[in-house]
Assembly symmetry: C2
Homo-oligomer: 191 residues x 2
């Protein structure tokens, strides 16, 4: 195949992200969200909420990370974040690398680099991208009064433990907003 044929083959292959069904339902309909919808929504949130990032970010780099961040799940499926361990993350990185190997080396390495940066949470961009990635399903769950958390028996303290660090690391303001809503659900007896 020529280079452009390979690149197009990759573009067609990643269409499968639209089949990876997540654990939370959309805000505006009752369908469970898929990873492609989630990735778009995270990008839109990242642009809209960038003023709340703890440190200034290169938003273009944040968007690139969010566009590719779930591609590893094409090979390994979606795992609810509360049950995800280090081996699962490595598994996803490996699946993504296999997918990226359809591309010429420079793009292959760029995509692997974006994923590794995202997972390492060392740069401002990756901290903010992780906060947004985590905040999106939290907003869905707040909207549905904790539906996914209740179904998967995730206790209030565990929700705080799992989200405070990752969201707060990227945006303290966003986390403050979210924890107020989650605490309100608790007060109203939803946990």
């Amino acid at each position: 195949m020529s280079v452009i044929e390979n690149d197009i083959a990759f573009v067609l292959e990643v269409d499968k992200l639209k089949n990876i069904v997540r654990k939370s339902r959309n805000i505006s309909n009752d369908r469970y969200e898929n990873d492609a919808e989630h990735s778009w929504h995270a990008c839109l949130m990242a642009i809209t909420l960038q003023g709340y990032a703890n440190s200034p970010v290169d938003i273009g780099r944040v968007l690139k990370m969010l566009v590719v961040h779930d591609l590893g799940e094409i090979g390994s499926g979606d795992i609810i974040v509360y049950n995800k361990n280090h081996a699962d993350v490595l598994n996803e990185l490996e699946s993504a690398d296999k997918l990226f190997s359809m591309l010429e080396l420079p793009r292959h390495e760029e995509f692997n680099g974006l994923l590794r940066e995202f997972e390492a949470r060392e740069t401002n961009e990756s901290k903010y991208a992780n906060a947004i990635d985590r905040a999106e399903p939290v907003l869905q769950n707040i909207h549905r009064k904790g539906e996914t958390w209740k179904r998967n028996r995730i206790a209030y303290d565990r929700i705080v433990e799992m989200n405070q660090k990752k969201i707060g690391e990227g945006s303290v303001e966003l986390w403050r907003y979210l924890i107020r809503q989650i605490a309100q659900l608790k007060e109203n007896g939803h946990f």
Copy 2:
């Protein structure tokens, strides 16, 4: 409402993009694609294929345009590009503006600016973003042997007329690849 509450209300409102069903089906499943999935796929294509852009582009700016480019369809619905006229485009820009007015002025203006830049096709970034936006459903249709074109009685010459300029303006190489595939479908009797 406080500023963050307004911003979050906007983020929840645009979830409706996931309900705007398009005219072509996905590559990897038989569902009709929705605008959120399309917007993500266009972003992924834009990063992957940027080496084929006619002129170097600021990929971050391209991604921002692609993330917001279909938000006007939340108010006005998806219209197949072959039937879309100038009034439809103005209608979409107006719908989008109404949506963006939920945000503070700087972000409201940024989003309107991105949409206007996208529609004007004057900058390298907007030419390339339009080429990608157009190429995505063309790839879906090539994959399904012209299904949407046949169903909507779009003739070969019309497909060329509608896509050659907009795709070629952003990426001559991508258009050359696509027209070879479309011509092959014609040769094989699919038109």
